[in-house]
């Protein structure tokens, strides 16, 4: 499984999202119905656990739409 697939699977599971929702127009914090503060922190935990990284405060607050999660993981050394 590629890292992108792994990332997509975590978001799909935590947000109950479908494949065609995996984009920046749909998966936006607070706009996508299930992406609230509770689910947000669950996703952060799951991403940290699965990719072996640690988000700092700015990473947590900066993760506000689909593509930004990938950008943050790249910055933390994950290859995409």
């Amino acid at each position: 499984m590629t890292n992108l697939e792994k990332y997509n699977n975590i978001l799909k599971r935590d947000l109950k999202a479908t494949d065609d929702e995996l984009n920046d127009e749909t998966l936006v914090y607070n706009r996508y119905p299930r992406w609230d503060s509770v689910t947000h922190m669950d996703m952060v935990s799951d991403l940290e656990e699965n990719f072996g990284v640690e988000f700092d405060t700015l990473d947590i607050t900066g993760f506000s739409k689909y593509s930004l999660g990938i950008e943050i993981l790249k910055k933390l050394g994950v290859q995409f």
Partner: protein
Amino acid sequence: MIFSLEKKNPDRTALLSDTGLVVTYGELCRFPEEMKCYVKERKLAFCLCENSPGAVAGYIGFIENKTVPLMLDAESGEIQLKSFLNTYRPDYIWAPLSKEQEITALLMSAPVFNACEYGLWKLNDDDCDSKENDEDKTCKLHPDLTLLLATSGSTGSPKLVKLTKKNVESNAEAIREYLHIDENERPITSLPLQYTYGLSIVNSHLLASAKILMTKSSYVQSGFWEFLEKEKATSFGGVPYTYQILKKMRIFRKDIPSIRYLTQAGGKLSKELQEEIGLWAEKFGKKFYVMYGQTEATARMAYLPAEKCLEKLGSMGIAIPGGRFYIADEKGSEINGADTAGELIYEGPNVFMGYAQTKTDLQTGDENNGRLLTGDLAKRDEDGFYYIVGRKKRFIKMYGIRVSLDQCENILKEIYPEAEIICGGTDDNIRIYTTDKEISLSSPEKLADILKMSLKGFSGVYVEKIPRNSAGKIMYKELMKDM
């Protein structure tokens, strides 16, 4: 005016949004006049809340015009709004203009008045009363009724808490006093306005002529922290879950320079977290207040003085100024000894009038005489500090919002009429016990969606049978042995 708004310096900023919208105390005072020709006294309004100046202006405007606002979440969705509309048949709706299309489509009419990015919709035309039914024509809202808040988030039937002006003002004054709030404070909104705790922060700071920083961003978003830093916010409040997240965000590893104090209410904070935040506060010269309240007491009933935070871990403190607690045994008599648990009873000027479940209920006056049976089991230590030890009724807190387990069961019984379903659990963790494997898998998502809460707090548990005693009563301890 409420909170003596007319006595404030009119040039001072009352409300400032992160989008740059400014409302001064002078403008806030004039606003009810602007609204006056569109609203009538003793009519019912829905105020659809978001954390923006328009919501607060509308709230003040209705109260000053003796129109009674019911505070609801602007994001609660059409199904819930319709349920409230059908039950309470309001005369007006005050809603953000970002929702204009949806509201106009729902009501089949356009707003009659706009201000501060909000609009006013009328449901019953004053000249033509055909839409208003006979019951509503004779329905006179009780003269003391000033404000309505919904209980227990969004579960089941829309039950309301009826509050008087005295309730709202006395609680705001008590909070101002014990938190030492003055005009130099700048709280940032971290809780919803329709939530009693969020509203109480706005009320107590308006009373103190402070500047309220309003943002729709949550504390997990960068916008919140940028606004806090730019405008030098001096305080914010949170429920236990807020503080769990803030800890996870590693907020308490460093100083937040502009912050003077933080507050916590809406459920019991763990001792570990209370200690961690207490130590952070001590290190950086802040104050951290653990508090206790209910919508039925307008908002707050108790606070733990900040200097006792580390000494009295696990305590929710002492009664607020003007209030009094006692602990009652099963017969309702006062227990005088220390460290004996019983039901916590509160007496004070902020105790609500009563509940409403229909529009007719809005006509009745005070039923409580300033006394509230909290439904919480508590004990008092030798120094007079109170500790919550459990709940008498089957309520738990989900992310700070009170949820009735009985109502959860009722919701699920409507979806699965044939199945045997019992709800149990602890704060932030609802368990759905059922004898149907399929339902144990599908029900958590259904219930979370209806309650508009995060799915992570719900789990389904398949059991072979629901344990009952010889009288047929459910044995909850046996059922929840997995917890």
